[in-house]
Symmetry: D2
Subunit: 341 residues, 4 copies
């Protein structure tokens, strides 16, 4: 059994990690760490865990946990993990950080977009960007995983095959992404008050969302990214636009490119021609669904990808990373059927 601690277990990503790990046959949840709810039973915060999780929330420092568990999952706001994770820690325990602190390779870009000092720049090089389907070999031996963001996972997975193959004009990429409200987290605010986001749609952080440099780093191109808030619990739909260099490319040509990269990937589903992703078809699962259409009238390609933001976009991919790091079948504990209803 792999012994785990979840640090930041009472946020939405933390809850999803607890939910997945509690059902993982090779895992033991040893510690549930929550600064805000120390001493309270986890099931009193999320009564869905009644009869299932009896542990209380604790507060412990990472060094102490490192001596007792095999892997630390860290789900904290940015700027905290880079203060707490030190090179010595990584000698004792594997770390999967679900926050943003180790995703960007460039300290300057991090500081520019996040407006805080990065306190562990010496680890940026070692940290492996945990986009499993694209970094599997590096993940196997990693000590520190920077688990990708939700928008970024969906955007990069959608675009990387055709970018990698050089099929599109590099200055033409637009990503218009739509997210359910769990993506905004559990913190209170008017923007997540039911009656302020239900029955409405809006764009936010236009051309300024922090997932932008992360997408750009992995694609190697600049682009315009616009996130939108959708009145639903879960799900990200990324509608990606780009100009094809070669206007004679057909749907089948592009499909072959996606198959080249994804045909053996269990968690990637390239849908049948003329059927397109909907967020409900991946709900609650670790799947990434994708399809695309060539707009012959304009020479643009439209690629549509969908994930569950809390699973493949956060906790599910974190567990996929753990499975890879510990030599398990990648699918264990996260191969459930999407709950489409």
């Amino acid at each position: 059994m792999i012994k785990t601690a979840i640090v930041g277990a009472t946020g939405y990503v933390g809850e999803e990690l607890v939910r997945i790990l509690a059902q993982h046959p090779q895992v033991e949840i040893s510690y549930i760490i929550s600064h805000s709810y120390v001493g309270q039973s986890y099931a009193s915060i999320y009564p869905s865990f009644n009869n299932i999780i009896t542990e209380k929330c604790l507060e412990k420092n990472l060094e102490e946990l490192a001596d007792k568990v095999d892997v630390l999952f860290i789900a904290l706001p940015h700027g905290i993990a880079c203060k707490k994770i030190k090179p010595e820690l990584l000698k004792k325990v594997k770390v999967i950080d679900l926050g943003a602190d180790f995703r960007l390779k460039s300290q300057e870009i991090y500081q520019e977009w996040y407006n805080v000092e990065h306190e562990a720049p010496e680890l940026l090089n070692e940290a492996v960007y945990g986009l499993c389907e694209w970094k599997r070999e590096k993940i196997k031996n990693a000590r520190l995983i920077a688990n990708p963001g939700c928008y970024t996972t969906c955007s990069i997975m959608s675009l990387l095959p055709i970018v990698r193959e050089g099929l599109i004009e590099e200055d033409s990429i637009i990503v218009d992404a739509k997210s359910g409200v769990t993506g905004a987290g559990r913190s209170l605010g008017l923007s997540v008050h039911f009656t302020e986001c239900n029955e409405s749609t809006k764009a936010y952080k236009i051309a300024s969302h922090r997932h932008t440099p992360e997408i750009e780093q992995e694609l190697g191109v600049k682009l315009t990214f616009t996130p939108h808030l959708i009145p639903m619990q879960r799900g990200i739909l990324a509608t990606c636009y780009a100009k094809l260099k070669d206007k004679s490319l057909t749907y089948e040509d592009i499909r072959q490119v996606y198959l080249k990269y994804y045909k053996n990937e269990y968690f990637v589903r390239i849908l049948e021609k003329d059927t397109y992703p909907e967020t409900r078809w991946v709900r609650g699962s670790n799947f990434f669904d994708v399809n695309f259409k060539i707009d012959n009238r304009t020479g643009n390609i439209v690629i549509i990808g969908a994930i569950d933001n809390l699973v493949k976009g956060a906790a599910g991919q974190a567990v996929q990373n753990m499975n890879i790091m510990f030599g398990l079948d990648e699918r264990i504990g996260i191969d459930n059927v999407p709950a489409c209803l």
Copy 2:
């Protein structure tokens, strides 16, 4: 492995059965039967099953299936199962009927409420009403299970302990139930058009819903039952009212009664005092959550129960019945953590 066929697999209850059975470690889905989609791949109807279910929908009669599987799950509109299920069939295969045809012991009451002739009255006596926590011993040896309805499961589970103990005035029971829209099924109609049921609430089939005689049969008392439609996918909340015979009874007294019947039941969760069920805490799971409050000012008790209508209220309980019938641990395949987000 238990070989199964699901008849009526493309309705919402059918989908949920396929979803649960596809993940059940002791089960093989041998046949997916759907009159409406013969020849189409199941995953083309529910793309959530892409990469998971490759079977096509078939049409086969029950006799043929009986020779090839161990258990038949039947999820068809009322009036069909009682035409198709014959005594000879039960000699060859176990049957779990998720429809209404074998739930009522009285042919007259069935015909009065359903307005159709019952074509297999000779089986009414043999059929076991599959409310697992209350009929476990009979279920073990049953050949034909009448899987309870969604409203009925929630209502009976909420009320039976205090009714059984004779604590309430028998003519005082009111059940005010609220259901998500999956309860109305997949058939088209204005009442399930998104813009006709979203952002609204209504009562329907007031004092005339067909689950009423089923609740009354199991409780042994008459009552007024009002179902309501709530703009959400899943979940039933039953708010039950009754007058206590003895006004001096305390919360603790009543709690002991619920513990007497439920304390060893994995799928029943009596919540802590002063916390009450919400449908999200059981979403996607087989749990029944319950708690109650005594209104000392009026002498009424208010009991609140919650289930997921598609799981404990349909497919989950059907699988629980199967587990009991086949001598498995009752929880296998249905012990997942609720998906509260």
Copy 3:
């Protein structure tokens, strides 16, 4: 033109008042008072008012306002209005209080349910409970209106005809009410976080909600009241249960009773037999829709009423009160067609 000030204009009830009064042909909004947003333009808080309301939020005491306007609308949390409204104030200005402070005639009951001292008990007798259809004559000459609560308006309007006529057993009344989330107000809290109340239903403040004594005062009987939170913006549906004294009463008999009280009431709509209220049919309007069914099997009557909680349940009824007080046609400014889509 009637000069008005709205005190507490940035809460949801305040917004709805501003929205209605801004479109009222006989009204001028002279002051928008908001303690929390002093100096900010109202349209920056609610951008729906862009191009319509250019005023800023001010902070002014009631005495100052009383010299400048004809009527004060007060939409503040309980316990504040009774501190601020003094007998001298009422000599200068009419006051419509949308809070709870002057609804209960008994200071003791107020203090028992609200847990605060009532600081203006000398006004309790003078204050008129502004349930327009039932108190019209008193409202005409009132100086201080206690505008009824949302649940209470719907519950009393549903039940008062048969209670007044003595048709039901007095200890048998149950009110099971369902409300949209605007009813919880604009204050932040986990219970109104989108992802904590969307896709779920719950009862709350069971047998202890503060609208209970208000309903009881007007009906003159004790009852059990259970409010529920429904994932929608607006609307209250009250499902009311009671035992009929005379089991031979027919639908038509009871209909005559409702017609006796309501047949000349513009804002009351007794629906056709066998059609029942849905909250969407009154959305955004001042209508109260009602119908009922006799459950002959149990001798219970089920009465279902629906209002928009922010309109007939708050701001609309407040304006209806103002119209009556100032001798206007009662319907002016609030006779819009419900927005059912």
Copy 4:
């Protein structure tokens, strides 16, 4: 009083027309025409109209209506209006067609996108495309108005100022639009079944939606258009992307361009810098809200526009057209405050 007939009054656009016209002080609704509900009272189909509309649905041909009313509103599926509207009809009555038949100037393009024969090509030239803010002078004397589509109104209004001024690269335009479900109309289908579109988001008719040629006609450029279905009742948000020719243009420069075209337009609201449209701020109103951001990193401009699809995107704009045609103040009957809650 302007006498009106509404043909196709029971669809969602029809309902919205009836709702608006019933409250228009200069209008009399003379005939409510519905093929599907002949003989039924309108209020039995939409009970929101109880006590307000007592008329029954009739079936009458346009010629007969033309003799009795001043203006015909036609809200029928495409392909029908062009069969029914003949040049002689226009000599007798003004016609506002809310369908697609007269929007496209080119018969060929119409037939290509709609796959039906156009049966009144001789009227295509005369028909005035009723985008009020841009065609006001022509509308004044029009006999036949082609009322714009919902997506098109929002897209054209968002983009036309900068396209007209030649500020963007013409082959760079992307419109990513999001619509509430009323946009799909009242017809039944799985795609509008509550549980199939609630809690999910999808793109549909990618690069093939019929509003595309309409947008292109008015803008005079080709573009890629992707509509998305959002789980909400009303509202369209159009997120528009284009490459600026001159990278040195500032927010203020572009703002001046929008002000040039819109500063005197009551129904256009250019929001304050850094605040962006949300569909709820225009809900139930005829406003078009807009703002934009320059993404200096990529040279793209992102323009975001929002309307209520049933009002400015259909019935409201139709009434605005009527007001212009009959010489009324353009705002009459449609100047209500948005219902943001």
